[in-house]
Symmetry: C2
Subunit: 153 residues, 2 copies
């Protein structure tokens, strides 16, 4: 995920005017601006579409969520070139990997990560992706959510 | 700051056995492992020392805090090479810049960033650095803290 200009975690993306281009073309443009040149070799298609959500406030908006599996080599290339992205230091303050494990103390890792500050529905999008892409089992996800809710500040 | 393996934000650093080396040498070793090769040209000395804090639990531990001002060029080089760090993808999940502004809505930027999950005393170290290095005025810091405490989840 990325740390955004507003101090919250979110996924790369942005507004697309579908009178001008397809959602997927708009997404590729946003990814290029926010993740940098290495993502340009990754093709996003309708097959990568996951879900949509309608938001009524502060203004009506439909968010469309896509996921893409990258080989570790490709991910590392994106990370290495992310500092060259047009929006680096502007919209994007940095990229981070999401820890998909829980440490022996029961809170470090994914539970603690879920206690960070997320924009809009991006935290539920993250959990939805972990579930539907079977990156974690349902009981692991539920346990991480439960542990995150018990963390004291 | 960096997103740590445990899902929390913190500063680069680590344990140093002062029977083996000075605090500054140990810090430089940790920075190299966590930030990557570009930091090796940055020399940390006793002049960069800021503060210390004693922690009694879970085990007695003294944290020493150092800050270093980098030119933007040097910071960008560190960011670009951070993916080459030995600990990248292990102890370090990514580097992020801290937004030092507040957006017009009164919460986006530093206030929202302060609502993320921080390890140990790293959030107070961040605020201490902003104050003592005069990166923000005292009233700006207080306002950001106040705004962050009013953010609803």
């Amino acid at each position: 995920m990325m740390m955004r200009f507003d101090g919250r975690f979110g996924f790369p993306g942005g507004f697309v005017d579908t009178r001008d281009m397809s959602l997927e073309s708009g997404l590729c443009r946003e990814l290029l601006e926010e993740l940098g040149p290495a993502i340009s070799t990754v093709d996003i298609t309708e097959k990568d579409y996951r879900s949509s959500q309608v938001r009524e406030h502060p203004q009506k908006c439909v968010t469309h969520f896509y996921t893409k599996e990258l080989k570790l080599d490709d991910l590392e290339r994106v990370e290495l070139e992310s500092g060259l992205a047009k929006d680096h230091g502007l919209e994007v303050m940095g990229l981070v990997r999401v820890p998909l494990y829980t440490l022996r103390d029961g809170v470090g890792g994914l539970p603690a990560f879920l206690c960070n500050n997320f924009i809009g529905n991006s935290k539920s999008q993250l959990l939805y992706a972990l579930r539907t892409l079977r990156l974690l089992r349902e009981d692991q996800i539920q346990e991480a959510i439960r542990a995150s809710q018990n963390i004291q500040y």
